[in-house]
Subunit: 767 residues, 2 copies
Amino acid sequence: MSWIVEEIGFDPNRITTNGNKFMLGNGAMGYRGTLEEFKKEQLPACTLAGLYDKVGDQWREPINAPNGLFTQLILNGEILSPLTSRYDSHRVALNIRDATYHRDTAFVVGDNRIEVRTRRFLSMEHLDLILMKVEFRCSQDCEITVRTGIDGDVWDINGPHLQEYELSAGDGLIGLSCITQELKKSVSVAEGITLVGAAEEVLIQDSLSMLREIQIKCFAGETYGFTKYVAVGFGDQREQVSKTVQSRVREAMRDRYETLLHRHALHWERKWELSDVEIEGDDDAQFALRYSIYQLHIIAPTESEKVSIPARGLSGQVYKGAVFWDTEMFMLPFFLYSQPKIARNLVMYRVHTLDGARRKAAEYGYRGAYYAWESQDTGDDACTLFNITDVFTNRPMRTYFRDKQVHISADAAYGIWQYYEFTGDDSVLLEGGAEVLLECARFFYSYSYYKEEKNRYEILDVTGPDEYHERVNNNAFTNELVRTTLEIAFKAMAVLESKYPEAYASLMEKLDFSEDLGKLSSMLGQLYTPQPDPATLVIEQFDGYSKLEDVDLRTLKSRIMDKNEYLGGGNGLATTTQILKQADVVLMLHLFKNRFSQEVKKANWEYYEPRTEHGSSLSSCVYALVAADIGNSDWAYPYFMRTATIDLTGDSKQYVGTLYIGGTHPAANGGAWMAAVLGFAGLHLREGKVLFQPSLPEHWQSIAFPIQIRGQQFRVNVTATEVVILSDNRNKLQQTFQVGTEERTIEPGGRSSFPNEGKRRGDGLAG
Amino acid sequence: MSWIVEEIGFDPNRITTNGNKFMLGNGAMGYRGTLEEFKKEQLPACTLAGLYDKVGDQWREPINAPNGLFTQLILNGEILSPLTSRYDSHRVALNIRDATYHRDTAFVVGDNRIEVRTRRFLSMEHLDLILMKVEFRCSQDCEITVRTGIDGDVWDINGPHLQEYELSAGDGLIGLSCITQELKKSVSVAEGITLVGAAEEVLIQDSLSMLREIQIKCFAGETYGFTKYVAVGFGDQREQVSKTVQSRVREAMRDRYETLLHRHALHWERKWELSDVEIEGDDDAQFALRYSIYQLHIIAPTESEKVSIPARGLSGQVYKGAVFWDTEMFMLPFFLYSQPKIARNLVMYRVHTLDGARRKAAEYGYRGAYYAWESQDTGDDACTLFNITDVFTNRPMRTYFRDKQVHISADAAYGIWQYYEFTGDDSVLLEGGAEVLLECARFFYSYSYYKEEKNRYEILDVTGPDEYHERVNNNAFTNELVRTTLEIAFKAMAVLESKYPEAYASLMEKLDFSEDLGKLSSMLGQLYTPQPDPATLVIEQFDGYSKLEDVDLRTLKSRIMDKNEYLGGGNGLATTTQILKQADVVLMLHLFKNRFSQEVKKANWEYYEPRTEHGSSLSSCVYALVAADIGNSDWAYPYFMRTATIDLTGDSKQYVGTLYIGGTHPAANGGAWMAAVLGFAGLHLREGKVLFQPSLPEHWQSIAFPIQIRGQQFRVNVTATEVVILSDNRNKLQQTFQVGTEERTIEPGGRSSFPNEGKRRGDGLAG
């Protein structure tokens, strides 16, 4: 099976898409898959995780660092670029196994054929390091001018974010340092090169860039080239940061490219060992799923617990580089099963942003923690009140994403508890996780209302996952997650109280929580959560949903007058109908699969599926998951494939008006993994027991993958007839597995083959 | 002082406006001030009170009866009409003292000058009777063809409502009877004429009309003419209704025009005795106020308690002929002080529509009575979910008038209790009024939520009077009215329990109310009502209002792109700002003037006044009332005049797109009376005591008017220096009055002159 994504030929219309598709990253930086010679018009970006800036009244968004890979080859005054030059062949490729980017172009200038070949990677060992090797060969003797260095004229959406540029050169290194507008952070880039052969170099600098210009006399058929060592850093002290990146470059130049690449590749080998999913019988699915996993690896914070994964990964400034619920709901499961340490970083991010969540709750008059709908470094909400432009009037449209999507606090709590359940790692609770859980529960108490007439607490005026219906009452998804948050808070308190009584006492005192205990308990006992209708088994998405116009999707779409018109908001076409943006009730049925019968899941899937517009990339995988859960892998498969290929095809929306909104889709990437492993293989953790209820697509011979549960490593292979589980030799604990109805405990190093009873369509369904 | 409204000359652009301005009515029927020769294109209408019809999916609206006054004079084949004929002079006039309509036109055909003169009235004695006298005189000998009869081709907005036309003729009478589409009610019109002199008559009928054609040989200078006697009726039995209208016509023809006019005028004399307000020193104000009172008289249900007053009176089918809160809040006070029997009819209408209100409450999942926002005959809500067309997309726009303006139930309850307090008439409580009060209180309990954290009941998700801000929480006006409803319910129960224990017991049992008592009492004790901010004294209109964009009205209006765009609704320009459609908090300060200090009233008037768009004709009078209350009659006066002249100038909006929305404005008419008598004269009833706190406009020498309190008749004259009160000789009870700080009790037949201490501007205000 191939591990290579490639594209032959050059299509200027695909520059933006390919910037996402061929992206590199190491969790600390993302580097878009653009060509070395590109300037900001082609949207290159070296996006830094966790550093944000705000200019004037514009959106706060992440920083794109100066581009240290910028390189142009010039022959007879002509800059070689497929945008403007003749070329014989052009190919870019991404090896997702070792996360290297490959570019090969053969330019033609007169009778001279110039083959250019570059290789680059973002070191997975040194997260501030980018390396690139450039080679070229001409068919005729000529003189090539290499212009390479640091291009500080960066692409910004709401910039410019960088100012006070300082350029430097010395000891063979060049450097560029600048200051962000808002927080006055220093961003520094240093670059050194090693050149094959001797050449004359001059430095060219303007206000924003520091470049070397090197004349190379080329003899026909000979290969020339050089290697670029680039380090990128940021921090409070300009000099300090500059020094750090310079010494990193020097160190890298001592280590040399091949060594660094080798070490980088070892990291990636380990990543794949822990996470690769092998599918037999479906090459397309295999490739798309691996590519999805690659996308998750390149944006995962391996070393920092102060950043999480933004909704567009590190592919640029889109969506303000903000972290949404996507992380907990769509990405976390992959990391939990494969790299719990990264999962820990992701959930600890919520601990570090707790104060921001407290400020947001207070701003709206509530107690506890109301997490940001769009979270950045501080946890204050980056989401604005007017998010969308009305296409008919060009006016900003009031939306209630920020104000009313209260489920975000439940999502954060749910994520923390998931981590705890998977790992048994108490430390996350002790280091602030429990505090988050309690503050989220307190927020929901503070947000709730009591309906005396019905003797129940209700959650009013919220927006659920289906954003086309804003400000609804008793959204089934939200209420169920609120209930879960309260349950989790009590469970966490029980853990603390029994195992760490002092920590428990001190937390109770710190939060002055004793009075809340009784309130939360009474709320938990009487919280209303919408239940299946006895006749139809359908769970109403929110109060009054069933009274909305029950129009089919085709009819709704026929009413659209402008292809960019927003279907939600004040007057959106979907708002007065039952058409939903994305899985809502169905997502709840996935999250709480044990709380609902197969009949209920089936009834709701069938009800909501034709009414779902899938206006979010978070929708398809959920329909795949629940379809697999109810034994309909043929319903699930197209949704799985749609999810898994989203960043390969680049078919998603790239622009709204002149605003670029494209980028990668980590939630869909995570959703693809979920659909395959949690859906088709039917993996599920329940009260410490690992369950499999497989429902493979018929043409799949097998799916195999590693999982880690509470520190123990296992390997799973699911075929149509059996589920084989191998416990790693190095494991220390036994683990109970259940496949279908059969339950067994496997000792460390043991192996067990369970019969795969399969899941017949409609399995367990009445009627 | 003149009692005549007149217009000289003919302006085709004013046909529609003048249809409203010169309207006749007797509470059972309205007849628009259109010319006799007009066909439906000019919007003549004989609108019937209390009979509604619905065609297909269109709006339910009142019936316009076939036009029994239709009359054309034809000379040499030319129909005489100022629309198409030459004329020398044209004048229409309305005598508001006796409610007669006058029309005088001198047509010119060749050398012949034809003077036409008509007089008409809707009998205030026989509410089904319309009479018209037609006279004409030619300057040359000629033959005039008179075409007169019943034109059944009526103007309809969402019709046609009438079908199965049956035409008849016999014994000199012609008749037209037809059937409504929805309820299959019979509508019948009969007409008889008495002709001066002999003439030849033939009957002309088509499918919709029954006309006489009469040839009259005219000698120059001689006056010819005829009188039309028209009766209009409706009911279940076609034959029965036809017989009734025929005998009414015969009877009227026996009584003759002059006698009937005389009796009609006596009724009007009595009306003016009971209600005329005399202003010295301001002829414009005098005339406008009298005209406003005239408008109230012609639409008041004198005999039926099953109809109330629609928002556009009886001026056509606009606003579905529906009864809004306008009646209780803006018209009822006039009737309470002048004709309590009519006030009783108005409040009893809410008793008769209680079941509709119960159905609406149940439809939305509540107990008790949720009155229709737009109420017709049954009390079911005629208001639709989509009320407005988006000018940018031509799509229907979802509005929440029907769903969320819960204050309507409080308005209904408030009206009933106002009637009871003014009259001491227990019968209204015993005949269903108390039941309404309890059911409204129960509805609010059922609607409320308890906020445990704040130990209070809240009223969530409502729309207050300011319809530009839909679905808000804790609207100050609404919450205060809800509290009042609960108080009223308890007061009514106390009256019943002490005076009519059996009725009380039976009502409690009928409503199964005992369990609600404790709930309502606890709600009353802990209901949240927004209070003045301690620093600014401003009462926030609803939760979060103060956080909205604080833009001035001019700026807001500069953002308007289409003059017909709606400022409220989903994306309306005002919704995200502090701009309000109409008095909201300020109306509350008027209704509960004793609950708030003068300082609070002043602070709120000054805060909200510049933020009010006055997009409703219900707004200006409220600003006039509260301005007068705080002693600023110069602030109040322009608002008073704007209110009092609305149907004279016809300056209000007449069309939205092709939809006619014009008509008369009874709420503004009532508001003009309120501003003059309750505002400038400062009349106020508090716990059985009559108070005056006058604040006359400086150029007014006096204002004088009759009032009736608990069956006793008084006459009041307010000047700058004194307030003279006369108790009628026929009174049986003494009555306590307070003017300024002085309180006296006046015996039947007594007279007292109080010094008018006046109200200095800022009277009693701190700072």
